[in-house]
C-alpha cells in the first residue's frame, strides 16, 4: 500500500471519527507522561504495580458480576438496575453463613445471622479469613451463589415475568423498583452501618519486590483471583460446550430464529437468571472478602461500574464483560496517578461515555455471548 493511500485512509478516519482521534491523543499523552514519570522516579514503579494489581482485583469482581448483567441484557433485552442489589443480597447471605460457621458457640446466633448488625459482633473478632476459617469462607461462597439464584428467580417470577414482552424501558423502570425494594429491605434487616468483616491482621501477605518497593498482595487477593478466574472458565465451558450454552447464545443472537428452531425460551430465561444471579452473588461475596467491609450500598455503588464494563465490552459478550471489567477496574485504580481519588469513579464513567460515543456497539461487538 502506497503512502498516498495510507494518508488518504488516515484522513478519512480522522474526519469520520474526530472523538476517536482526540481519545487516542489523550491516551498517548497519558502514556508518555507515565513513562516519563517512571523514568525520572516521580512515579515509583512499585506504586504503579500496586495500582495495577488493585485495579485487576477490582476489575475481576466487576467482570464476574458483569457476566450476569450482560447475559440478562442481551437475552431478556433490558438493563437490569436490580443487579447491584442482587450482588448485595448475595454478599449478606454468604457472610451470614460465614459468620455463623466461624462464630458458632462464641456469639449470639441472631447477631451472627445479621452479620453483626448494630455492632453486635465483629468479623475481626471472629478471626474470619481464607486461611483462618477456610470452611466458613467456602460455605459462604456457595450460599452467596445459591441464595442469589433464588433471589433472582423470585424477582423474575414476581416482577419481570408478568411483563416479559413489555419492552426494554418498562422492564428497566420495573427493575429500578425491584432495586429500591431490595436495597432498603436489606438495610431494614441488616442495618445501615458499614462494618469490617475480616481479621485483616491474620491474612497472610506476600509482598512482591518490584524495583523500588513492594507490591502488596495478600491471601484474599489470591482467593479472589482463583474464585473469579475459575468461575469465568466455568462459564466459558458451559456456554461453549453444552447444549444449554448453545441455546443461550442462539437466544441472544436472534430471539425469533431461536424460538422457531424450537429452543424453549422460558427455560433459557430461567437458566440465564440462574447463571447471572449465581455469579452476581459470588461476586458480592468475594468483593466483601477482598475489601474487608460490608454495607447495604455495596452492590448499588458497583452497579454503574458494571454497566460501564458491560457497555465497554459490548452487551451480550461475556468475554467483553470480563475484559471491560478489567479495563474499568484498571481505569478506576490508575486514574489516581493523575487526578484526585474522588474522581476515580468519574474517570471510569468517562471511559464508558467515550466508548459509547466512539464505538457504541462496544469493543467486542458482534460476538454476542460467544
Amino acid at each position: 500500500m502506497g503512502f498516498a493511500e495510507t494518508y488518504a485512509r488516515g484522513r478519512r478516519v480522522a474526519v469520520e471519527n474526530p472523538i476517536g482521534i482526540v481519545v487516542l491523543v489523550v491516551v498517548a499523552v497519558l502514556a508518555v507522561d507515565l513513562a516519563r514519570g517512571l523514568a525520572t522516579g516521580r512515579v515509583p514503579v512499585s506504586r504503579v504495580g500496586s495500582l495495577v494489581w488493585d485495579g485487576l482485583m477490582r476489575g475481576l469482581v466487576i467482570g464476574l458480576a458483569g457476566i450476569g448483567l450482560s447475559m440478562t441484557y442481551s437475552i431478556l433485552n433490558f438493563a437490569n438496575f436490580a443487579h447491584g442489589d442482587f450482588i448485595t443480597g448475595g454478599a449478606f447471605a454468604g457472610w451470614a453463613t460465614t459468620y455463623l460457621l466461624a462464630g458458632a458457640g462464641s456469639a449470639d446466633v441472631g447477631a451472627l445471622l445479621l452479620v453483626g448488625a448494630g455492632g453486635s459482633v465483629f468479623g475481626g473478632a471472629l478471626g474470619v479469613g481464607i486461611t483462618t476459617t477456610p470452611v466458613a469462607v467456602l460455605a459462604g461462597v456457595l450460599v452467596a451463589g445459591t441464595a442469589t439464584v433464588g433471589l433472582a428467580l423470585l424477582a423474575d417470577r414476581l416482577a419481570f415475568a408478568p411483563i416479559r414482552d413489555a419492552g426494554g424501558i418498562s422492564l428497566l423502570i420495573t427493575s429500578v423498583g425491584v432495586a429500591f425494594a431490595l436495597r432498603y429491605l436489606i438495610q431494614f434487616v441488616f442495618g445501615p452501618s458499614t462494618r469490617g468483616t475480616t481479621a485483616a491482621s491474620a491474612v497472610p501477605k506476600f509482598p512482591l519486590y518490584l524495583i523500588d518497593g513492594f507490591v502488596r498482595i495478600d491471601a484474599h487477593d489470591l482467593a479472589l483471583l482463583v474464585i473469579a478466574g475459575g468461575l469465568m472458565i466455568g462459564v466459558h465451558l458451559v456456554l461453549q460446550t453444552t447444549k444449554l450454552g448453545k441455546a443461550m447464545r442462539a437466544m441472544s443472537d436472534n430471539k425469533d430464529l431461536a424460538r422457531i428452531t424450537g429452543i424453549p425460551a422460558e427455560r433459557v430465561v430461567t437458566a440465564t437468571w440462574v447463571m447471572g444471579g449465581g455469579l452476581a452473588g459470588v461476586a458480592g461475596y468475594v468483593l466483601v472478602l477482598w475489601k474487608g467491609t460490608i454495607s447495604f450500598n455495596d452492590g448499588w455503588l458497583l452497579l454503574l461500574l458494571i454497566f460501564a464494563a458491560v457497555i465497554l465490552g459490548g452487551i451480550g459478550s461475556i468475554y467483553g464483560a470480563i475484559a471491560g471489567g478489567v479495563v474499568i477496574g484498571l481505569t478506576y485504580s490508575l486514574s489516581v496517578i493523575w487526578i484526585p481519588s474522588t474522581f476515580a469513579r468519574a474517570a471510569a464513567f468517562l471511559v464508558m461515555i467515550v466508548v459509547l460515543l466512539v464505538r457504541p456497539q462496544g469493543i467486542f461487538a458482534g460476538r454476542t455471548t460467544a
Binding site: 429500591f180 438495610q187 457497555i311 468517562l350
Partner: protein
C-alpha cells in the same frame, strides 16, 4: 361560530375538569392530613406546618415531574440524571447570590453577591448548559444508553461537588467601571463535602420586599399571631412560600402546555412516536431533541433552586440518584405524556409516598412517645420469635419508616408498571397531530386508538441491535 370559538368550546370542559381535578386532589390531601392530625390531637401550629410542608413537596415534585414530562412524555428522552441538573442549578445559584467572602466570616467561601433573582436565572441557565453538554453527544444513543450516560453524569456532578479540588477557588469576574475595564477575583467554591452555607437574605423576604408588600406581610404575620402564640413568622413563611411554589407549578404547567401544543411540541411528540418518520418529513430531529432537552434541564435546575434555596445550607450527598427515581415514580404515577398527570403524580407521590409515612411517624410519636425502640433488627425480632411479643418489632418498624418508605416506593413502582403503566389518569398521552384524530361517527373508536399506546410500545419497535446494518461484515 369561528374555528377559534369552536376550539375554545371544545377545550373549556377539559380545562375546567383538569383544574377541578387538581384542586379536588389538593383539598383531599389537606383533608386527610388535617383529619388524621385532629384525630390524634395535633395542635394548630403543627397542623399548619404540616399543610405547608406537604404543599411545598407537592409543588416541587410537580415541578420536577412536569420538567421530566417534557423529556420523557413528550420527546421520549430517557433522562435519569435529573438530580445532577438540580444540583447544578442550586449550586450555581448559591455561588452567584452568596455574599462576597469576608475573612473571619462564618462561610468558608463566598459568592458574587448578586441579587437572588440573578442567581435563580444563572442556576437555570447553568443547568440548561449542562443539558447541552450532555445532549450534544448523548442524544444519538439508544434510550437505555442515554439513561446510563445521564445517571453517570449526575454522579460525576456529585463527585465534583464532593471533591477537595473545587472546595475553594478564585473566580475572576470582568467588570466595567468609570476608571476602566478590569477583573475582580472573588473567592468562591463548591465547599467540598461540608457543602455551602446559603448566607443570602431569605428569598421569601427578598421577594416580599421587592413587590412592596412588606407592610401587609407583617400584618398577616400579626394576624396569625392571634392564633399561634409565640413566633408565628416561620409558620406564615412556610405557608406563603408553599403558595409561591404552587405559583411556579402553574407557570411550568402553562409553559409546557404552550410548548406541547405549539408546532415545536408536535414535532417532539412525532419524535417520540417515530424519530425516523419525523426525520423523513424534513424535521431536524437532532436540533429539536437538543432544544427540548435543554429546556427540560433548565426547568429541572430552576426546580432545584426553588426546592433548596430556603434550606440555609446545601450538601453534595443530598443529590444522590434516589432523588431522580423519586421524580420518575411521581411521573409514572400520574402517567407520562400528560401535564395534568405530572402534577397529579407529583401531588400523590409527595403526599402519600414521600411525606405521608414521615407524617404518620410524627403523629405516632406525638400520641405515644417511645424512646426505647430497638436499635437494630436483631433485638426487634428476638422477642417476636421467643415469646410472640410483637411490640419491639412494631416500634422498630415505625422507627425505620425512612427506609421502609423506599421499599414501599419500589413496590409501588413495580405494581404500577404491571397494572397501570399508563398512569392513574389512564390514557392521557397527547398525540402528535394538530387536529383531533377522532373522526366523525363510527370511525371514532378506531381512530381514537392511535394515540393510546402505552409506554410499552414506545420502544417495542427497536430490537437491541445497536450495530444495525454492519452485522454481516
Amino acid at each position: 361560530m369561528s374555528a377559534a370559538d369552536a376550539l375554545r368550546d371544545r377545550l373549556a370542559p377539559a380545562l375546567r375538569s383538569d383544574a377541578a381535578l387538581l384542586v379536588a386532589l389538593l383539598l383531599g390531601i389537606y383533608a386527610l392530613y388535617v383529619a388524621s392530625g385532629v384525630a390524634l390531637g395535633y395542635e394548630l401550629r403543627g397542623q399548619l406546618n404540616a399543610v405547608a410542608v406537604v404543599t411545598f413537596y407537592v409543588g416541587v415534585f410537580s415541578l420536577l415531574a412536569l420538567a421530566l414530562n417534557l423529556h420523557w412524555g413528550y420527546t421520549g428522552l430517557f433522562n435519569i440524571g435529573i438530580v445532577g441538573f438540580m444540583a447544578v442549578g442550586i449550586y450555581t445559584m448559591a455561588i452567584v447570590s452568596k455574599a462576597v467572602y469576608t475573612p473571619g466570616g462564618a462561610a468558608q467561601v463566598g459568592g458574587l453577591g448578586a441579587p437572588i433573582w440573578a442567581g435563580m436565572l444563572a442556576g437555570t441557565a447553568a443547568a440548561a448548559l449542562l443539558g447541552l453538554v450532555v445532549a450534544l453527544p448523548a442524544l444519538r444513543l439508544r434510550a437505555d444508553y442515554l439513561a446510563i450516560v445521564t445517571i453517570a453524569m449526575s454522579e460525576i456532578v456529585r463527585f465534583t461537588l464532593l471533591s477537595n479540588a473545587f472546595e475553594s477557588f478564585r473566580l475572576p469576574v470582568p467588570y466595567v467601571s468609570r476608571s476602566g475595564v478590569g477583573t475582580a477575583a472573588y473567592r468562591v467554591g463548591l465547599g467540598g463535602g461540608s457543602g455551602l452555607i446559603l448566607d443570602f437574605q431569605d428569598p421569601l423576604a427578598a421577594f416580599v420586599e421587592a413587590v412592596g408588600l412588606a407592610g401587609p406581610y407583617a400584618g398577616l404575620v400579626d394576624l396569625f399571631g392571634t392564633a399561634i402564640e409565640n413566633n408565628p413568622r416561620p409558620v406564615v413563611d412556610g405557608l406563603v412560600y408553599a403558595l409561591i411554589v404552587l405559583g411556579f407549578v402553574a407557570g411550568y404547567y402553562w409553559l409546557l402546555k404552550r410548548t406541547g401544543e405549539s408546532p415545536f411540541g408536535r414535532v417532539l411528540k412525532a419524535i417520540r412516536e417515530d424519530e425516523g418518520v419525523a426525520d423523513a418529513l424534513g424535521k431536524d430531529t437532532r436540533a429539536f431533541k437538543v432544544k427540548a432537552f435543554m429546556l427540560g434541564c433548565g426547568l429541572m435546575g430552576l426546580a432545584g433552586v426553588v426546592w433548596f434555596m430556603r434550606q440555609g445550607a446545601i450538601t453534595p450527598n443530598t443529590y444522590r440518584p434516589r432523588l431522580t427515581f423519586f421524580v420518575w415514580i411521581a411521573l409514572i404515577i400520574g402517567g407520562a405524556g400528560s401535564n395534568t398527570g405530572s402534577v397529579v403524580g407529583g401531588a400523590v407521590f409527595a403526599a402519600f409516598l414521600y411525606q405521608g409515612p414521615l407524617y404518620l411517624k410524627n403523629l405516632v410519636n406525638t400520641v405515644a412517645p417511645v424512646s426505647d425502640a430497638p436499635g437494630s433488627f436483631g433485638p426487634a425480632v428476638a422477642p417476636l420469635i421467643a415469646d410472640l411479643d410483637p411490640a419491639p418489632f412494631l416500634l422498630y418498624t415505625i422507627d425505620s419508616v425512612r427506609q421502609l418508605q423506599l421499599v414501599i416506593m419500589g413496590v409501588v413502582l413495580v405494581a404500577l408498571m404491571h397494572r397501570r403503566p399508563e398512569g392513574l389518569l389512564g390514557h392521557r398521552k397527547e398525540t402528535a397531530a394538530s387536529v383531533p384524530l377522532r373522526g366523525a361517527g363510527g370511525s371514532g373508536g378506531a381512530a381514537g386508538a392511535v394515540g393510546t399506546d402505552g409506554p410499552a410500545e414506545r420502544t417495542g419497535g427497536d430490537p437491541s441491535d445497536p450495530d444495525g446494518g454492519e452485522g454481516d461484515g
